[in-house]
Symmetry: C2
């Protein structure tokens, strides 16, 4: 019987603050980081499972410590048994009552569970010889709903309703998989839009985004109002009339302020406004959405769990759900969120960028297209051209589209050399 | 100039699971713990500041590691400057963008900030020679609002509205302080009601609660429905007709289930239902509150931050707000929550028990009575008779009332011997 021998963590940090990549109105100088975990069994012929939580620097060590706290749930366990029922294992971790107290179901401990769960999926997919999206897309509707936890969701989505959604999508799976392999999945880019870039760099990157085939670009806003208007003018001029422009305020505003600031941006025909205020503020987002309609409100990268996702959907507080691979408790919770979005008919445009978020979240979006919503026309995965070279299977984005990964696994494995080179050395203190 | 020399943490755990003290439908075997912090300056004549986060066991080390991550914000800083503007210091910690990513403003990192902020208040109160409640009650309305962060709150409460609430309460401060000193502040008890106690122990502890002068007791419910009814019958018989009984489901139910289960408890004329479902589910609580009215819905010990508190108030999703001393980012955020509750006219009945929660939260409730809401008639602080002996200034509860602490500080200091004796020794592994 194969047993888990080891759970090892690494505090990996890339010094992105040096170039202001990733700078926005709330995060002036992020150091893109990964609290990284690898799971090893006692079977030398088994691959390792890799997962991580994306953070932006300080505290990445605390995030890694939280992953270490899950060691006793993993090490020594029968690996085949765990992998065969990841729904049960997810529930065991999330419902560990002592650890749950530290959230509950949110923040550092919840994301730590996400990293371990994703590492288990990575291992299961590698063992199956399939990329994660294809592994998930090959499960029966019953197997898929068994992975999701419907606790706290049943007033919005029951197990039976989820099954119905999945059964409805079943006949078209093969056709959509073939289409995905030939056409890829649409991408949009945030590469041009970081707040720390000067106007010249902004214009140049906007032109490059068009040349690279992207149909939508995203700009950071929310600091100085005059800057927002000037940068939007520069971007519009650079991309021409046919490219869509979305904006992201990164939680900078209060409700009334958001409505006022967005009124000033009306002339720019924005694709959406992202994170106008606190990601916990369901009612605030709903008020903003009503006031700025038909401008779509987008959020998700900081939605702490499926209970918040549920409420945002119930309250019509978002119309673009930005699924994030590492904010919630991993693949299983994101399956539940995809099912919720399908129930409410809301489009999912995943958050990515950071460290490995593109690599990880594409599997979920592609699974959604093949087996859940069946839709791709109104959807896009975010793309930022940073740090992909550190991954064993970097995202394959060409002509503004993600082409499906074919290598076995969840896409979450960093190159050994990158782990070694960027393992954080704490300053002496 | 006095500087902070040191931030030391301790992983303190009491083995309460041995006796099932604190057992409920979600937490069968808690080990009540404190991730404890002490701040020391380079001035030998200054006292230390002490603070903590209450946890229930596993992960207490991760919580302590999160407190350690705040070291660079504290050590080396001018202590007088920091203590003189704790509003600014709170904002500095909460808005550290890299650390904020780990919440944002929720979970382990947010509670860690709470521990440090509370330790600073403990130090400031000791330096002032006053108990915290009296220090806060002596501040001007302008000084108090400067301590609160109104970011994300202004759609429900502006700085000016908060000032108006505080100015309105100002003339009665002295009278209420005198009344507090003579009469104390009402308490209720949860000591009898833990789910792990057998019927005989339940009945005995109910009778003792009445003898001790409590006017309300609280029982854990939410596991087996028949058990709930049987235990409520036993409790009612033991306490007689004049004592109120509240129940606490500790997040055990989904929305429809809560409504159905509470319907079966209608005959017992309950004082409130606490935590019927996920503490993140504003809309779910609102639906439950409408369905079970006039039974009041209570929650708070897991309300992650002031943004959730705001929404629960806006949506009329609770009518008893159970302020918690260590769930949010310390004294400052709890001031904001008290101001919100006063604005909405909702009564505050703080959550306590655990380790040191009674000692800590009484200061906030007493400050609220003297300087914010001016009300005590409809309020009570929870009391559980556990672990008080480990504190330097244990809560003084007599005849069902908390009598105001008079010793300088925030009440958050553990006895040195208790820290040493209960510092957790990690099992070798």
């Amino acid at each position: 019987m194969p047993r888990f021998l080891d759970l090892r963590t690494h505090d990996v940090r890339f010094p992105t603050s040096r170039t202001l990549d990733g700078s926005d109105a709330m995060n002036p100088d992020p150091d893109y980081s990964a609290a990284y975990v690898r799971l090893r069994t006692d079977r030398p012929d088994w691959p390792e499972g890799h997962g991580f939580v994306f953070t932006i620097g300080r505290g990445n060590d605390v995030q890694a410590a939280a992953i270490e706290a899950l060691r006793e749930h993993v090490v020594g366990r029968d690996a085949e048994e765990v992998l065969a029922d990841l729904g049960a294992f997810w529930r065991e971790l999330v419902h560990d009552s002592q650890l749950r107290w530290l959230g509950p179901e949110k923040g550092i401990m919840h994301m730590a569970i996400g990293a371990v769960v994703t590492a288990l999926w990575d291992l299961r997919a590698k063992r199956a010889g399939k990329p994660l999206w294809r592994l998930l897309s090959g499960l029966t509707p019953e197997e898929i709903v068994d992975l999701a936890d419907f606790r706290y969701l049943t007033d919005a989505l029951t197990r039976d309703e989820a099954l119905e959604i999945l059964h409805r999508a079943e006949p078209g799976r093969a056709g959509r998989e073939a289409k995905l392999l030939s056409d890829g999945y649409p991408a949009y880019t945030t590469t041009p839009g970081w707040l720390g870039y000067d106007d010249e760099k902004l214009a140049r990157l906007c032109r490059e985004a068009v040349d690279d085939g992207f149909g939508l670009i995203k700009l950071k806003v929310g600091a100085d109002p005059a800057d927002d208007v000037r940068r939007l003018r520069i971007a519009r001029e650079a991309v021409g009339p046919d490219i869509r422009i979305a904006v992201d305020a990164n939680q900078r505003w209060d409700v009334a302020e958001a409505i006022r600031r967005l009124d000033a941006l009306r002339p720019f025909d924005l694709a959406w406004i992202e994170e106008p205020t606190s990601p916990d503020d369901v009612l605030g987002h709903a008020a903003i959405a009503r006031a700025v309609a038909p401008l779509p409100v987008a959020t998700g990268e900081h939605l702490a769990n499926r209970v918040l996702a549920k409420q945002f959907l119930q309250a019509r507080a978002l119309s673009v759900l930005q699924l994030d691979a590492t904010r919630v408790a991993g693949v299983n919770e994101n399956l539940a969120i995809l099912l919720l979005a399908a129930k409410f008919g809301v489009r999912v445009c995943p958050h990515a960028g950071g460290v490995g978020l593109c690599e990880a979240v594409q599997h979920l979006a592609m699974f959604d297209y093949v087996a859940v919503s069946g839709r791709v026309e109104d959807r896009m995965i975010e793309y930022v051209d940073h740090l992909h070279e550190h991954f064993v299977t970097p995202a394959d984005v060409r002509a503004g589209r993600y082409f499906p990964p074919l290598a076995p696994g969840a896409g979450t494995e960093l190159r050994e050399e990158s782990i070694v080179e960027y393992t954080y050395a704490h300053p002496a203190g």
